[in-house]
């Protein structure tokens, strides 16, 4: 009889433990599943942001830049919708718990959106401006609520660090297209970003330090391009230079403009 009882107690322990473990399992599974969904959305964000960046590089050659910018805006709206899905997943969560799942996508989005912003406004988009556009309406009709997504300063920095690579590409393309102003503008802007990063130095996130080398290389390429423009331009007075270029443009395409 006593033995019987003992094993009941034992069973209780066992049963209770199992009940608890099943709860733990649910908690863990919920977390893992959410993590997995976030990884997948983040991959989509990355891909679409990259495509937007490619699209934006066309801006230096097409006749109407505004078309490209608007198209990029539309593409980024799509990306923002995806980020809305991330925000939805993170509703009520501590976002840092899942940060590793979506940080690659968000960095790529920062890169794309800041590239678009630079082309349009010739200045660096701020973290606030980025976050201001990441406000979403909850889709549940029963309870419409505002959702926001906050890009962290470290994701912002990492995205901006990558932006410099795109700016460098844009600079080289500009020179190739006979545009002599953009490279100088870009070199000043890039230098400012470079100086900004060296001001931050090693107080920033670890990944930034790894990207600094590439940033420095990009700056070097842009500075070299400007140097070449200047040194070649030195052989002819400035006012003549303009003539040469306008005649070059005419020469290539008098009626339809540069394709």
């Amino acid at each position: 009889k006593t033995r019987r009882k003992k094993y009941d107690a034992q069973d209780n322990f066992s049963v209770m433990l199992k009940r608890r473990v099943i709860l733990f399992q649910q908690e863990l599974d919920t977390k893992h599943d959410k993590y997995e969904r976030l990884v997948k959305i983040s991959r989509d964000v990355t891909i679409e942001s990259k495509r937007t960046i490619f699209l934006l590089h066309r801006v230096t050659t097409v006749p109407d830049a505004e078309d490209v910018l608007n198209e990029a805006d539309i593409k980024l709206d799509g990306v923002r919708q995806k980020i809305g899905q991330i925000a939805e997943e993170l509703k009520g969560e501590d976002i840092y718990q899942f940060h590793r799942a979506f940080t690659p996508g968000i960095q790529e989005y920062v890169e794309a959106v800041s590239f678009l912003h630079y082309i349009r406004h010739r200045c660096l988009i701020s973290l606030e401006e980025i976050n201001a556009r990441l406000v979403f309406m909850n889709t549940e009709k029963a309870d419409p609520k505002v959702l926001t997504f906050q890009v962290t300063s470290s994701d912002y920095l990492l995205g901006v660090a990558d932006l410099t690579g795109e700016l460098m590409r844009m600079c080289i393309s500009s020179v190739g297209n006979g545009d002599i102003d953009t490279p100088f503008q870009l070199s000043q802007f890039l230098r400012q970003i470079h100086d900004g990063f060296s001001y931050i130095g090693n107080t920033g996130p670890y990944e930034v330090s790894k990207k600094l080398h590439t940033l420095r290389q990009s700056l070097g390429k842009v500075e070299d391009a400007c140097y070449t423009l200047r040194v070649r331009g030195s052989e002819i007075p400035k006012h003549m230079l303009a003539d040469v270029f306008s005649s070059r443009t005419t020469l290539i395409d008098p009626e339809e403009g540069v394709v």
């Binding site: 199992k18 608890r20 399992q25 718990q97 701020s126 300063s153 900004g196 001001y199």
Partner: protein
């Protein structure tokens, strides 16, 4: 806002972050110190003489947990609570150690498995993330697994100290624990690695029980269940 201003602004964020981390690190150091003290108190149960003193040692440890609670209260003031996981790495290690110590005290006192709620209460923290500084499932489970390995050591030292019943009780307890953990699907993460260790603890205790069995030293099995 100029680029320079923007970077100064961001730098502000980064400095604030570094300061928070520095503050957290300091409190965590005091926590580690206390954890080491509790461990030293509880380690004595492995000594031949230590078995009789279990109750007093547990009481002593319970006292030290007061200090832990004060230190964790201090820790909570160092960062915004919604950003728990931002700084999690700083205290994860010590929190698992503390969960282990809490679990060990409770086991020594009542030979039962501490609940996550109890650990939280002993440490003066929450179970549910929404309510504040809390104990993650993973950290709770890690603490329990560290205890399992301490129990396998205890089983060995019980025999040395001449207590031949304790290993059997530990064996039952740890077997239950093992079948509980078997229900979990863990990712390839640190917890899984620790859980792999549990298998060795179970094996070790099984070997002790076997050693006792073949020598007819495992006399009072019913007693094991009663406690």
């Amino acid at each position: 806002m100029s680029v320079t201003e923007m970077f100064s602004y961001i730098q502000g964020f980064l400095s604030a972050d570094q300061d928070i981390r520095e503050d957290i690190r300091k409190v965590v150091q005091t926590l580690e110190q206390t954890a080491r003290e509790i461990l030293t108190v509880l380690q004595s149960v492995h000594q031949p003489s230590g078995f009789k003193e279990i109750p007093s040692k547990c009481a002593k440890a319970r006292e030290l947990f007061c200090t832990v609670r004060t230190q964790i209260a201090e820790l909570k003031t160092k960062f915004p609570m919604e950003q728990y996981y931002r700084f999690h790495e700083h205290w994860r290690f010590v929190l698992q150690r503390l969960a282990f110590l809490a679990a060990f005290v409770v086991y020594l006192e009542s030979e039962s498995l501490v609940k996550r709620e109890e650990v939280a209460q002993i440490l003066g923290i929450e179970v549910v993330r929404e309510k504040g500084f809390h104990l993650d499932v993973e950290d709770y489970l890690a603490g329990v697994l560290i205890m399992a390995s301490e129990l396998s050591r205890l089983a060995v030292n019980s025999v040395t100290a001449g207590d031949y019943n304790r290993p059997l009780r530990i064996s039952n307890f740890i077997n239950e624990l093992d079948s509980g953990f078997r229900l979990l699907n863990l990712k390839n993460d640190p917890l899984r690695k620790r859980y792999d260790g549990l298998k060795y603890d179970v094996k070790k205790i099984e070997e002790v029980v076997y050693d006792l069995s073949i020598r007819g030293l495992a006399k009072e099995p019913e007693a094991a269940g009663e406690k």
